[in-house]
Structure formats: structure tokens, C-alpha cells
């Protein structure tokens, strides 16, 4: 390309930097505000303070919310990954009548607006007397998270040599043995990545959980409550901690997907 223009290239770089600033300023801001003594932070910033962290540490409601989030997140991760694994393998291995319907049903939930999902879930679950329970949040999050698990595992399966499975059958392995000794070892990094990613999605989901959770609020629903009530920088403190835990999960997932060759078991 002969006509590279240096000024345009610099402008493009500046533009990317501005986009990133715009995207990450609220996230970084929340960290800074969480360690700031001001209730309404502005320039110049107030002094350093861990007051907000102390307040959430001492708040039993935050702890019960945290416990709910953890229970929901762990359960959802296992359920969504198991469902997603089955779906991914089905898509990888089989062709059948109605497959596009199957795939649409499996992958569409993230495109439905959360308020509508929330209302539909609430109406349905209260009809079967499940609304307001932790189980209802698990059911709803299972629907919303399994597409992510399925996509991650499906991508990994598409990297597999299809002959590998056939080879295993030829050598006398039945489908179960092939699943156990060929498919699962090969997809293991993706399975763990799916567990972490779905957990992270569930950790941050507030809207549907808000509709169906009743009194068994997860932490993000608590934050929504704080937002509706008085302004409180406690949100920043909780948000910063949640960010750190989500990031840990994402980085673990990323590492697993990066070096899939390593854990040969």
C-alpha cells in the first residue's frame, strides 16, 4: 500500500484511544470512587478512604446477597455447561429433521430483551409456584447462559479431527467410551472455559433475577435496590469486587482456551 497517510493513521489511533477511554472510564471511575471519601465525587477528588468497603463488609444484606449469587452462579455454571455440551455435540455430530429449530431454540435467548424474559419467567414461574425462590433464578439463568456454553464448546469441537471419533469406534470403543476417552479430554479446556464464562454471566445478571428472585436477591439485584434508593458509593465498592472476581474467571477461561494443547490427560 503506497499511499499510507501518517496523519490519518495517527488520527485513527487517537480515535481508538478515545473509544477505549469512553468504554473504560466508567469502570475505572467506579474503582476510584470506591476508594474516595466523597459521597458525590467530583473534581478535585476527596481523600482516600476504605469506608465504603467497611460498610459493605458489615452489611448482612450484602453477605446474604453474595451467598445467593454464589449458589446461583455455581449451580448455573454446571447446568448450563452440561446442557451446552450436549447441544454442541448434537450440532457437531448429528443431522436431523428440525435441526434449525433446535439450534434457534438453543441459541436465541440472549437476543430477547431481559425485561421481556423477566416478565415471561415471572408469569410462568409464579404459575407453577416457583417465583421468589432461588430455584427460579437458577432456571432463568440456565436459559440465558447455556447458549454461551454451547458456543464455546462447539467452537472447540470444530477444531477436532472428525476421524478421531471414527477411529475410536473402529477400535471397538462404543459411543460412551469414545465420549469419555476422546471427546471429553479434547473439549476439556472449553468445558472449563464454559463453566467460568457462564458463572461470570450469572454473577452480573440483574434484570431477570430482579423479576423472579423475590426476597432471595442476588448481589446485582441488591445493587439495583441501592440505585433506586439513596445514592451510595457502596455500589462502587461492590462493583469493584465483582469486577475483580469476574475478571479472574474470564482470564482463567482465556488461558484455558489459549493453550488447549497443554492438558493432555
Amino acid at each position: 500500500m503506497g499511499n499510507e497517510n501518517r496523519i490519518i493513521n495517527i488520527l485513527l489511533k487517537v480515535h481508538i484511544a478515545l473509544c477505549l477511554l469512553f468504554i473504560f472510564a466508567p469502570i475505572a471511575g467506579s474503582f476510584v470512587f470506591s476508594l474516595n471519601s466523597d459521597r458525590f465525587p467530583s473534581l478535585p477528588l476527596g481523600e482516600f478512604s476504605t469506608e465504603w468497603y467497611r460498610l459493605i463488609w458489615e452489611d448482612p444484606l450484602v453477605w446474604s446477597g453474595f451467598a445467593n449469587t454464589l449458589i446461583v452462579g455455581l449451580t448455573v455454571a454446571v447446568i448450563a455447561t452440561a446442557l451446552g455440551f450436549g447441544g454442541a455435540y448434537t450440532d457437531f455430530r448429528y443431522n436431523f429433521f428440525g435441526k434449525s429449530f433446535y439450534l434457534a431454540l438453543a441459541l436465541l435467548p440472549p437476543t430477547i430483551p431481559v425485561v421481556i424474559m423477566g416478565l415471561a419467567m415471572l408469569a410462568f414461574l409464579s404459575r407453577v409456584n416457583l417465583s421468589g425462590t432461588t430455584i427460579s433464578v437458577i432456571i432463568a439463568h440456565g436459559v440465558m447462559c447455556s447458549p454461551f456454553a454451547m458456543a464455546i464448546i462447539r467452537l472447540r469441537l470444530s477444531q477436532m479431527d472428525p476421524d478421531l471419533e471414527a477411529a475410536s469406534w473402529n477400535m471397538g470403543g462404543n459411543q460412551w467410551q469414545t465420549l469419555r476417552h476422546v471427546i471429553i479430554p479434547f473439549t476439556k479446556p472449553a468445558i472449563f472455559a464454559a463453566l467460568f464464562i457462564t458463572m461470570a454471566v450469572s454473577f452480573d445478571e440483574f434484570a431477570v433475577a430482579w423479576f423472579v428472585s423475590g426476597l432471595n436477591e442476588t448481589l446485582p439485584v441488591k445493587i439495583l435496590g441501592f440505585l433506586q434508593g439513596q445514592v451510595s458509593p457502596r455500589i462502587n465498592a461492590i462493583g469493584s469486587l465483582a469486577f475483580i472476581s469476574s475478571m479472574t474467571l474470564i482470564i482463567l477461561a482465556q488461558l484455558l482456551l489459549r493453550n488447549p494443547e497443554e492438558p493432555k490427560s
Binding site: L12, H15, P26, F243
Partner: protein, 281 residues
């Protein structure tokens, strides 16, 4: 391989199917059903009544909110696409493989941060005595009113959708054959003309899909309109949360929800057929 489904294949395929039928499709169909139900003595009762539909669709408040929601989310989709395009172009065409992968990783991060926390943080940035106005006052500007109006809502929606739109646009541009661009340059096609004559048509499907996702996300978002826009006058999603949380009038909320789904499906269908139809020309 074999005609009849084996036990193995059923065990793999069925759990997801059953789960999504029971807890995804069925609740959505149930939502359609309850839009015809009636509420008596604070109890929903099965019925086949069009009263909810008449009540919602005959009211100006609903149509105002409908129009407002469409305008806001269209604006968000257009603005986000325009902001994202130069960034995606630069990532796709100006960056090395390693830098590209880092950018993609960085842009995935916001998906796993709490949108609520980001919106709360934006309140602090945008309020009348907030960070942005304080910074502007050093320059002798402002203060500008950036909260509780359309500007605040759009900032929130762009924050929500920008990373996804950049990612989708970048992916679609990564698929463009580099020889095409080389050829355009060899034919003395200028930079800007290359963008409009080669890159945008080649990446069209991806660009439309990215804008569509921005529209869908903004259309259903109730957090920005509520906490950055002030919530009044309401958007459709605020209407749903208000109606649902303030009592037993779920059938009316269901009517609003169905109108939203129908709108989204129409928009998605037309956007996608537009993206593919023009491509063959």
C-alpha cells in the same frame, strides 16, 4: 449413520431441548396467552379478552413511549456504528495479529462488568456538579445538563453497545480479501473511496448485523432510560417494569412485551434481508 436415534444421541440432545422448551419457549408462549387474561380481585384469570390489548393500544401514552423507544434505539444504533467504524477499520487493517488479539480481549472485558455499576459511575461523571462538568469548568465551559435527558440515555446506550459493535465490525472486516484493497489501490482508488467502494460493501452484512445488535440491546435496555434519562417520560421497557412491579396488571405488561417482540422481529428480519439482498448486486 443410523436412521433411528440412539439412546446415546437422545441423552446428548434432549436435556437442552427440554430445558429450552420448558423454560424459554413455553414462558414466551405463556406471555402471549396471559395478554388475553383478565385480572379480578388482584388475581389473574384465564380468559379470552381483548380488553388489555384495547386498553394499551388505544392510549397515547403507549404510542408516545413506543415512538420514543424506537427513535432512541435507532439513534443509538446509528451513533454507535459511526463511532465504531473508524476504530474497527483501524483494528482490522492497521494492526498486527498480536495487537489485534489484545484489542479483542480488551473489548470483551466490558461484557463481564456490571452494567448497573457502570451506569451508576456514569451518573457521577455526568451529573451537574460531576466530573465532566468540573473538568469543563476549568476550561471555562458549562455546566451542561447531561443527566435526565436524551443525551444521558444515549451515552448509556452507546456505553452498552460500543464494544460489541466494534467487535462485530472488526470480525466482518477481517474477512475482507486483502487483495481487493490492493487492487483498488493499484487502480488509483483513493483511501476514502476504497473505504466506500470496497470495504463497506464487502463488510455490509457484518455492519448491518452489528447495528442490529446495537438496536436490539438499546431497545430492551431499561437501565439507561431509568437512571440516566430520569425514567419520565417512560420507554417501553420502563413501562413493563413499572406495570409489573406495581401490581398484578401483568396481562397489560404482556401486551407491551409482545409489541416489543413483534417490533424487534420485524426490524431484525428487514435488516437481515436488506443486508443479504444488496450483496448480490
Amino acid at each position: 449413520m443410523n436412521r433411528r436415534p440412539t439412546l446415546f444421541s437422545l441423552i446428548m440432545a434432549m436435556p437442552l431441548l427440554v430445558w429450552q422448551l420448558a423454560f424459554f419457549l413455553f414462558p414466551l408462549l405463556f406471555l402471549v396467552a396471559i395478554s388475553f387474561w383478565t385480572v379480578r380481585n388482584f388475581q389473574m384469570q384465564p380468559d379470552l379478552s381483548f380488553a388489555n390489548w384495547e386498553r394499551i393500544l388505544s392510549r397515547g401514552v403507549f404510542w408516545d413511549a413506543y415512538l420514543r423507544t424506537i427513535v432512541l434505539s435507532t439513534a443509538a444504533a446509528v451513533i454507535t456504528s459511526l463511532i465504531a467504524f473508524p476504530a474497527s477499520y483501524a483494528i482490522s487493517f492497521k494492526m498486527g495479529e498480536k495487537a489485534k488479539r489484545w484489542m479483542i480481549f480488551i473489548l470483551i472485558i466490558p461484557f463481564f462488568t456490571s452494567y448497573l455499576v457502570r451506569v451508576y459511575s456514569l451518573q457521577v461523571f455526568l451529573s451537574d456538579a460531576g466530573i465532566v462538568n468540573a473538568a469543563l469548568s476549568y476550561l471555562g465551559l458549562g455546566p451542561f445538563s447531561m443527566l435526565n435527558n436524551a443525551f444521558g440515555i444515549l451515552v448509556g446506550m452507546v456505553t452498552l453497545t460500543l464494544p460489541l459493535v466494534i467487535l462485530l465490525q472488526t470480525f466482518s472486516m477481517n474477512f475482507i480479501n486483502r487483495d481487493l484493497i490492493e487492487a483498488a489501490h493499484n487502480l488509483r482508488c483513493g483511501r476514502l473511496r476504497t473505504v466506500f467502494a470496497v470495504i463497506i460493501p464487502s463488510a455490509k452484512v457484518g455492519l448491518v448485523v452489528a447495528a442490529l445488535f446495537a438496536f436490539i440491546l438499546s431497545f430492551g435496555d431499561f437501565v439507561s432510560p431509568l437512571y440516566l434519562g430520569g425514567g419520565n417520560p417512560p420507554t417501553l421497557s420502563i413501562m413493563i417494569t413499572d406495570i409489573t412491579k406495581s401490581g398484578q396488571q401483568w396481562p397489560r405488561a404482556a401486551v407491551v412485551a409482545i409489541m416489543m417482540i413483534v417490533t424487534l422481529m420485524t426490524v431484525a428480519f428487514s435488516a437481515i434481508s436488506y443486508a443479504y439482498r444488496e450483496k448480490g448486486k
